[in-house]
């Protein structure tokens, strides 16, 4: 953008993360069923995998509200005493769990996750692991961890169908307290990549452009956003 343009405040919004706010659809109903079933689980841990923006974190928060679980990020696993962590928390959520393998030479992460899984067995405590790829596909070096990941109860959130995409979009606009006309959603849907990630991109871009230019969210504004996003994609 070369033209002079107004910068805007970073007005953060909060996503509604309660169970009632979760949109149940064929793509995620099994994951929801597992969370609803807790604590009646066949094993100590539940792994939920799904593409970015598919609602893993939301489900994790639903689980936290339900169980009082403690939340940690996979990247923090090397900084904590795992035994204390598991022993003092009857329920846990490990978000971004694949962070234990994504860093180079981070064997200590893997070993700590391995101990966590063992400790869960030992204590009978429960954990939800959220990741983008299923744990069975993580490139772990530690064979002991590998086989435990393979054995995790796992549920994948599938690609969204159109009605779920529409609903997620409505929710994201609502989270940002933006009043939109339904025609706007109908206009965007057939023109966008059909992924959770793209919903997030588009809603973010629409919000930013409307705020910057003080415009209402209308079809011409949407068209401008879609053109810009397309342009960016072509340049990549």
């Amino acid at each position: 953008m070369n033209r002079a343009h107004q910068l805007t405040f970073d007005l953060v919004h909060r996503s509604a993360l309660s169970r009632e706010d979760f949109l149940i659809a064929p793509a995620n109903q099994q994951a929801v069923a597992w969370i609803d079933k807790w604590p009646d689980w066949p094993s100590q841990s539940l792994a939920i995998s799904g593409p970015p923006g598919s609602g893993k974190t939301h489900l994790a928060h639903v689980y936290m509200a339900k169980s009082g679980a403690h939340l940690i990020d996979g990247s923090q696993i090397n900084q904590i005493n795992v035994r204390d962590l598991v022993e003092t928390n009857p329920t846990l959520v490990i978000d971004n769990a694949e962070a234990v393998v994504s860093e180079d030479g981070a064997d200590i992460h893997e070993e700590n996750l391995f101990h966590i899984l063992n400790l869960l067995k030992e204590t009978g405590h429960h954990a939800v692991l959220c990741s983008i790829t299923p744990p069975a596909r993580w490139k772990v070096k530690l064979a002991d961890l590998k086989s435990r990941l393979n054995a995790l109860t796992h549920v994948a959130i599938a690609d969204p169908d159109e009605s779920l995409l529409a609903a997620v979009m409505v929710k994201q606009f609502a989270d940002r307290q933006l009043r939109i006309d339904h025609g706007v959603i109908d206009y965007i849907l057939p023109r966008m990549e059909r992924s959770f990630r793209c919903v997030h991109h588009i809603v973010t871009a629409i919000d930013a452009l409307a705020l910057r230019e003080h415009r209402n969210i209308t079809i011409p504004l949407i068209r401008q956003v879609l053109d810009t996003l397309n342009q960016e994609e072509l340049e990549i």
Partner: protein, 372 residues
């Protein structure tokens, strides 16, 4: 219903309520003002379903009763009557018409039944307090310019009023922002307002309220219920729905680490900005400020019109910085400054800048720069 009232008294009260009535209405009854006569008093009531005003005025009632008549028409008629005229309002022939007589004029207005007129309930007040009209005016006047007009972003279409504290003093703070600038102004916290929930009062409500308390020297009673706010003053009661949204955590956008301070004469600054902006494009209204020790350079340019610069003396002693702003925003803020000196507290050319008075810490403005 039948009564007589002096023209100017009626005009004043009608004036209070009629501006609430929208020019175009899909629901006919909302175009009307409800007139209720009883006990030596005429109450006028207008509403748009979100905002409801009742204004009362003394009148000589010969027959109590009520009806509703077209608000704008009635107002126009009364306005055009000669000063000092005695106006007779007569709906004794039934509530489907109102006869207005004054001197040798006679008007017959078509009415709608009183029962159809919507009643707005105030809800049970959870907090109530009293504030001087002058203070309420100041809160509104100094923040209103920053209210967002973006309808999509409904949660910014009003003034956020809440109880908080600054430097261990309890205050009632009004905040408005449109995402580009923010205004935050405080008054001492009235007793009774402690612990009140933060509420967003819609733009139309504050605009109407401001008009009504313009010349009013006394105090305004404010009552809050879960979804409404009610102002009572000077024989009038104004009840408004609150905006059903969450105001953003505005404290986050008020920078704390800005270390570049420039004090400058406010009037000189505003005049210079106004002159230089004459050249910048109508659309962007961008103006560039270059701060160097001793000199502030204002510059604007546009492809169509050319360029302009102006220099002002300043007391700046920080490192050189160049920053762009929307000139209209600078003028809006400069207008709020009452003292001689306006203070800029900056970080860099892309971060929020604080603008305020040197003497008065109760008002604070934050402005996002433009990338130029």
């Amino acid at each position: 219903m039948k009564l007589t009232i002096e023209r100017s008294a009626l005009l004043k009260s009608l004036g209070h309520v009629q501006s609430v009535v929208e020019r175009r209405n899909t629901i006919p009854i909302l175009s009307n003002v409800k007139l209720s006569a009883r006990d030596g008093r005429l109450d006028l009531n207008a509403t748009d379903m979100d905002l409801d005003i009742v204004a009362g005025v003394e009148a000589d009632i010969s027959e109590p009763g009520s009806t509703t008549a077209p608000a704008h028409t009635l107002f126009e008629i009364v306005r055009k009557l000669p000063e000092g005229a005695q106006v007779e309002l007569d709906a004794s022939g039934g509530d489907d018409q109102l006869v207005l007589r004054a001197g040798r004029s006679r008007f017959v207005l078509t009415c709608l039944p009183t029962e159809d007129f919507p009643v707005m309930s105030g809800g049970e007040a959870t907090h109530s307090f009293t504030i001087a009209a002058g203070e309420l005016c100041a809160l509104i006047d100094r923040t209103k310019f920053a209210i967002s007009t973006e309808e999509t972003r409904y949660y910014l279409n009003g003034i956020y009023l809440h109880a908080t504290e600054r430097d261990d003093t309890l205050v009632l703070r009004a905040v408005a922002t449109d995402g580009h600038r923010l205004a935050s102004v405080e008054a001492p916290l009235p007793s009774g307002a402690a612990g009140m929930p933060g509420v967003i009062v819609p733009r139309k409500t504050v605009t109407e309220l401001r008009k009504l308390i313009e010349d009013y020297a006394d105090e305004v009673d404010v009552a809050l219920s879960e979804s409404k706010i009610r102002f009572t003053f000077d024989g009038a009661v104004m009840t408004s729905k609150l905006i059903d949204g969450t105001f953003p955590d505005y404290q986050r956008v008020i920078p704390e680490g800005n270390d570049k301070i420039m004090d400058i004469n406010c009037r000189d600054f505003a005049n210079a900005v106004d002159r230089v902006t004459a050249i910048s494009s109508e659309k962007s209204r961008a103006i560039k400020l270059k701060l160097t020790p001793g000199v502030l350079l204002l510059a604007a340019s546009s492809a169509e019109h050319g360029s302009a610069t102006e220099e002002l003396e300043n007391d700046y002693s920080g490192s050189e910085i160049e920053i762009g702003f929307n000139s209209r925003y600078l003028l809006d803020i400069a207008q709020q400054i009452e003292g001689d000196v306006i203070r800029f507290v900056l970080a860099d050319s892309t971060s929020p800048t604080i603008v305020r008075e040197v003497e008065d810490a109760s008002a604070l403005y934050v402005l996002m720069p433009m990338r130029v």
